[in-house]
């Protein structure tokens, strides 16, 4: 009797665990189905131009989401990421406008500013031991304030950026946009860092059980600090990409982007309690959100729906994760009880 029941149970359990594990695949499947429906309503959805535009826009969110994912895997959160992107974007655009740097120098400036701001977050959280939510809510206000102070009412127009700079976003290599290649490159490097290096394993260890990690002698302060610093660096890169994509930059650039970034990470299957998740998942999460935004416009719904959908997506993603986790646990306890 028991023998007849057990295989069914374990079969169901393994299905659930597969769904839980293969978040990337299930997201792609949902996108495929939704894409089919949308293309029936709006045939232009299926054009190559449209796809590459979605991917270019999503790659900015994706780059930021990679940093955010790393921080969330350590059981933290970075709410200041939109202010980092905005501040970097303004500084980069302004220094290009004043001809202080060439485009390569601009990229360097953006990365350095992002890294410094990330180190500020890392210092406050890892060294001063202020909880991430308070620290990054504070630096959100501080970084944005600095952005406003530097920018004032000034707006850097697209025309004052060097010719060809904004064109990078439209450039492609063998038909693939540069931004997408860049994102794929960062995902590959980042995934290698998390999967195959000591630092990467330490990131997961600190996130899944901080006490055990410190007992094992993992330098959790250093790991946490590095995660926030890297998050700042990637936010800096996203800031430079923001300038390239949008061109016209003022002190309010990237306001509200944190929600999209966190939504991408959560949808991408990163556990909000820390300790699990992949960078590829976060990037696909960003693509998923970009895809939804695009579908909304094509179907004719107003842009105002986007914010609500980000919220809904966050809530659905964490609730379904929790349901899967609970039923796996229940199945586990049942099978061990037998």
């Amino acid at each position: 009797m028991a023998e007849a029941v057990v295989p069914v149970r374990s079969g169901r359990r393994s299905v659930l665990m597969t769904i839980g594990r293969q978040r990337e695949l299930s997201l792609l499947a949902i996108m495929f189905v939704l894409g089919g429906i949308v293309s029936l309503i709006a045939p232009q959805f299926l054009s190559v131009d449209n796809f590459s535009q979605v991917a270019v826009l999503a790659s900015i969110t994706a780059i930021a989401a990679l940093g955010e994912a790393m921080v969330i895997i350590t059981r933290g959160i970075d709410l200041s990421i939109e202010a980092v992107i905005g501040l970097v974007a303004y500084c980069v655009a302004r220094s290009l406008e004043l001809h202080l740097v060439d485009p390569v120098g601009a990229l360097a400036i953006g990365l350095v500013i992002g890294l410094v701001l990330g180190c500020v977050n890392g210092f406050v959280i890892a060294i001063l031991k202020v909880p991430p939510i308070v620290a990054t809510l504070g630096t959100l206000s501080i970084f944005r304030g600095i952005d406003y102070v530097i920018a004032g009412p000034h707006q850097v127009p697209l025309a004052s950026l060097p010719a060809g700079f904004a064109h990078i976003a439209r450039t492609d290599i063998l038909g693939v946009p540069v931004f997408v290649l860049l994102t794929v490159g960062v995902v590959v490097v980042g995934s290698l860092l998390l999967r195959s290096t000591r630092f990467g394993r330490q990131v997961y260890a600190v996130g899944s059980n901080p006490e055990a990690a410190s007992i094992l002698g993992i330098p959790s302060r250093r790991v946490t600090f590095t995660a926030y610093a890297l998050c700042g660096l990637l936010a800096g890169l996203a800031g430079v990409m923001w300038v390239i994509e949008f061109g016209t930059i003022n002190g309010t650039a990237a306001t509200g982007v944190t929600l999209a970034v966190v939504a991408a990470v959560v949808v991408g299957g990163v556990n909000t309690l820390g300790g699990s998740g992949t960078l590829a998942g976060a990037a696909i999460g960003a693509l998923f959100l970009g895809f939804i935004a695009n579908a909304l416009i094509l179907v004719g719904l107003s842009q105002f729906w986007l914010q609500a959908i980000y919220g809904l997506v966050i809530l659905l993603a964490i609730s379904s994760d929790q349901l899967i986790r609970r039923s796996v646990q229940r199945a586990n306890t049942r099978s061990t009880a037998r």
Binding site: I133, G138, S141, I142, Q307, G311, L312
Partner: protein
């Protein structure tokens, strides 16, 4: 020996009550007022202070239930969006010809439903409140945008706009401040004088222990999120009244200030401690600080930097003080121990007493 051991701890207790966070805050508040008065003759003119208070009241009202939620060890980031949603729905209903006597209760009901959503996901779903309320922060704001779009509704009757803008007749006390004090009084009594408050503290200190002691943890958590939703919606109504305009982006950015107020008021972000009087004092402190900064013609932008610093410092200072206290304790203990050791080897007990005194 016992006498000498007792007297420092008694002194310590007195010192500790002297350096209670609320006392420090009250001293800082007085200091700011004295300094501001010396700097500018306009600093504490009643009208000036009244304007300033009424501009801060929506945040202050939101901060009251947020205090309870933070004591519980949770957080509600969605309050600013709930205020925006309340404003949008109020404007939408008013523009559609619904009288305010019906529209306002309806809006409060929306607040309750929104709060219930947060509460159920956190308390029953076992999900982290940070991420849940980040989700509803986006969801409620998005719903506000869907309801009202980019337009503003502004032809509200004067009786309504007096709620957020007017003063109690014959004084310069804004009505909204009276409402704030009323809610503070009720929540203060509930938190500090009833079994409900004791349950809130118990859950914040250790939810597991509280559950085994018979506290209905899920119910308390859910109800506090509902309360937070209703009061945030009410703050949205007051905001609409003060600006005489309903907008979907109403209240944007208020969450940071509300969290700053609660933490500056001495609540512990990890739960288990915090008081309503502390939050009230923090509201007054921030009002005075903003007034001082404005009179010193510090721009709003720099004020936002100051607010962020204040938020981090209000958590950092108690942590550092706690660490310092631990170090001092350890040093004292080791001195005691070495003194005991010396005593055991060479001298009778009376010897140390002389040494210590």
């Amino acid at each position: 020996m016992t006498a000498t051991a007792k007297s420092p701890s008694a002194v310590g207790r007195a010192a500790r009550s002297l350096v209670r966070w609320e006392t420090l805050l009250a001293v800082a508040l007085l200091g700011l007022i004295v300094m501001g008065n010396a700097l500018s003759p306009f600093f504490l003119t009643p009208k000036n202070f009244s304007n300033l208070l009424s501009a801060l009241m929506e945040v202050a009202i939101m901060a009251l239930p947020l205090t309870l939620i933070i004591i519980l060890g949770e957080i509600d980031l969605s309050v600013e969006s709930m205020a925006g949603l309340a404003s949008a729905i109020l404007g939408f209903m008013w523009a559609a010809g619904v009288p305010l006597e019906i529209a306002i209760p309806a809006v409060l009901l929306v607040g309750a439903v929104g709060g219930l959503l947060n509460g159920l996901l956190v308390a029953r779903g076992g999900l982290p409140s940070l991420v849940v309320t980040l989700g509803t922060l986006a969801l409620f704001r998005g719903m506000a945008l869907i309801v009202l779009g980019p337009r503003g509704i502004s032809n509200f009757p004067p009786a309504f706009t007096a709620l957020g803008f007017g003063d109690v007749p014959g004084t310069v006390i804004p009505w909204s401040f009276v409402i704030f004090l009323g809610i503070a009084l009720i929540l203060g009594i509930v938190l500090h004088r009833t079994w409900i408050g004791r349950q809130v503290y118990a859950i914040g200190r250790n939810a597991g222990t509280a559950r085994y002691s018979g506290v209905r943890v899920t119910r308390v958590r859910t109800s506090l999120f509902v309360l937070s939703g209703v009061i945030a919606a009410f703050a949205g109504v007051i905001l609409t009244s003060r600006l005489s305009s309903a907008r979907a982006d109403a209240g944007a950015g208020m969450t940071i200030t509300a969290v700053t107020v609660v933490l500056l008021g001495g609540a512990n972000i990890f739960g288990g401690s915090g008081t309503i009087p502390g939050t009230v004092l923090a509201v007054l402190t921030i009002a005075v600080m903003q007034n001082a900064l404005r009179l010193a013609s510090v721009s709003v932008e720099v004020q936002s930097i100051a607010l962020g610093l204040l938020l981090i410092l209000s958590v950092l200072i108690p942590t550092v003080a706690h660490q310092a206290k631990k170090v001092v304790d350890r040093v004292q203990r080791s001195r005691h121990q070495s003194a005991d050791a010396i005593a055991g080897e060479h001298t009778p007990v009376t010897g140390i007493e002389e040494e210590l005194s």
